[in-house]
């Protein structure tokens, strides 16, 4: 009986925590769909605010998507070789490199952004282009791609597999194409989802790096919250949720399956 009580208490606690996390999301969504927030749901549901957001901020939304995809390409190009090097040589040096890579994540986005501004702020062409924001995003998301791919590479005993392929005559490039890349597909996919999701939601750095012509979704959100009607802010948030929800769901679906494949016993075979 004691066990049951304990179970129920913990369950109840957990449900409360869930409510704490989910209720505000629901509230925000609802606020974006009601005609008048102050009046509440009695005022009716409407898509008017969402349409206003879409019309007014379409550019911002597309820029966010564009930067996220560009960020993905950059992290793939920079991150996969890095993960490969770290997987092949595990030494004090490789650990130091990992530490270094993680710094833009450990250090507050504010600091990273400020550093970029004081160094490159003078290059007005660079400073006012979306590339400036892209750089910040890549710095922040790169360690996630590297770590994701690295985890998979470590799990497959990369060195022995490469030796096996080499003993069969495969040159380095062949090995990379035939053995390394196909086997880290899962890591690349998980890393990609992470990078895109983080880039879409990045604010701390982007707020300092942006200009009125290079606004991303979170920056637009901050603007909307500060200056516009609550309903528009909520509708904007709703659009954000709509964009990020599929990514988050995909991330979760990806993290869950830990299938332990059945390995048949050796008998006569």
């Amino acid at each position: 009986m004691h066990k049951k009580l304990l179970f129920n208490l913990q369950l109840g606690f957990t449900l409360l925590v869930c409510a704490f996390l989910i209720v505000p999301v629901v509230l925000s969504i609802m606020a974006g769909l009601t005609v008048n927030y102050i009046v509440g749901i009695e005022s009716g549901l409407t898509l008017r605010w969402v349409m206003e957001v879409w019309n007014g901020y379409r550019g911002t939304i597309f820029l966010s998507i564009g930067i996220s995809l560009a960020c993905l390409v950059c992290t793939l190009v920079l991150g996969i070789p890095t993960a490969y090097v770290l997987a092949r040589r595990q030494s004090a040096l490789s650990r130091a490199i990992e530490e270094l890579l993680v710094m833009p994540v450990a250090v507050p986005g504010l600091a990273t952004a400020l550093a970029l501004i004081v160094t490159y702020g003078g290059l007005s062409g660079f400073r006012t282009s979306w590339l400036f924001i892209l750089v910040g995003h890549v710095l922040f998301t790169l360690p996630f791609m590297v770590r994701s791919v690295l985890a998979v590479l470590m799990a497959i005993d990369l060195n022995t597999l490469e030796e096996g392929a080499a003993s069969l005559g495969a040159s380095w490039w062949r090995r990379f194409r035939d053995i390394v890349l196909p086997n880290c597909r899962a890591g690349i996919l998980a890393g990609s989802l992470m990078v895109v999701t983080l880039s879409m939601g990045e604010f701390n750095m982007t707020w300092l790096l942006h200009t009125p012509f290079t606004k991303t979704l979170p920056v637009g959100l901050a603007d909307a919250y500060a200056s516009l009607r609550l309903e528009i802010g909520s509708a904007y948030t709703l659009v954000f949720f709509l964009m990020i929800m599929p990514l988050l769901l995909a991330l979760q679906a990806f993290a869950q399956p830990r299938i332990n494949k059945f390995v048949p016993e050796d008998d006569a075979q």
């Binding site: 957990t14 996390l21 925000s28 993680v102 507050p108 004081v118 701390n204 919250y225």
Partner: protein, 272 residues
């Protein structure tokens, strides 16, 4: 194998160049700029010597510590509970709890306003019940709630991963020696989760210290370091001080995470 080493260096070059150009050099620049203000290199001690900065440092640390403690307790209980009890709906609860993982601080700030702002849900409920509107979104309390909100998803994942790796045989051994369930928790489970708690707690702390978006949305009146840095930079145009403060903040955060990493072992991830 010389060939191999050369190849590895070549592969590392793109990321290396990018990182040096856009992070290492700028950080060095930041450090140098920090010393060019009217206080010179003393700017780096300003965080302690200047009363305003010091107060904001205390406020920042205070919120961060409180957030960490509360989050660890919540994640500890729920995380271990969900990991060890399989029941229908378990997956859904986990999904709901880890959902807000990538929400930016601004959105969370907005939701705090929805809950506890002037038109917030809590205010309306309390108005109906007690005839008094409870509004706390625009203070450190609101900030605290926001920080706990985005810290729970991150820490709960770490706790659950660690709980999965706990060896049930240790608990069975303790029970066979006569330990009560409570003793098993304090003597076997919590020590077993200690590394996870340390690393999750460090991330939580570091993220809370450096968080900006939430404070920004909840209004510039809140006196935490990231906001102070921001105002120095934009409103006061005091670039040198902003640089110095943010460099100190960055260094301190990184040190906390590095210490936690050595104490706990394994990789940690912080996010905005």
């Amino acid at each position: 194998m010389q060939r191999e080493t050369r190849r590895l260096i070549l592969l590392l070059l793109p990321a290396g160049i990018f990182f040096s150009a856009f992070f290492l050099i700028p950080m060095a620049e930041l450090f140098l700029i920090g010393g060019t203000g009217k206080d010179g290199w003393m700017a780096y001690t300003a965080i302690i010597t200047n009363k305003n900065y010091f107060n904001s440092l205390l406020a920042t640390m205070g919120v961060a510590v409180l957030t960490t403690v509360v989050t660890l307790i919540i994640s500890g209980i729920s995380g271990v509970f969900l990991q060890r009890n399989k029941f229908p709906g378990n997956g859904a609860l986990v999904a709901m709890l880890t959902f807000p993982l990538a929400f930016p601080g601004v959105v969370i700030g907005f939701m705090v306003i929805m809950l506890a702002g002037r038109q917030g849900l809590i205010g309306q409920v309390s108005n109906a019940l007690f005839d008094e509107k409870i509004v706390f979104a625009y203070s450190l309390t609101g900030l605290f709630i926001g920080y706990v909100y985005f810290s729970i998803p991150r820490t709960i994942l770490t706790v659950m991963a660690a709980a999965e790796k706990l060896d049930p045989k240790l608990e069975e051994a303790a029970r066979s020696l006569g330990a009560s369930p409570w003793r098993v928790v304090t003597d076997v489970i919590i020590p077993g989760l200690k590394p996870a708690f340390i690393s999750a707690g460090a991330i939580c702390f570091a993220t809370a210290v450096g968080a900006f978006g939430t404070a920004f949305t909840l209004a510039a009146r809140i006196n935490v370091l990231p906001m102070v840095i921001y105002t120095e930079f934009t409103l006061a145009a005091n670039i040198a001080m902003a640089a110095a403060l943010s460099f100190v903040l960055g260094a301190a955060t990184w040190i906390v995470l590095a210490l936690a990493r050595t104490a706990a072992g394994g990789t940690v991830a912080a996010a905005g």
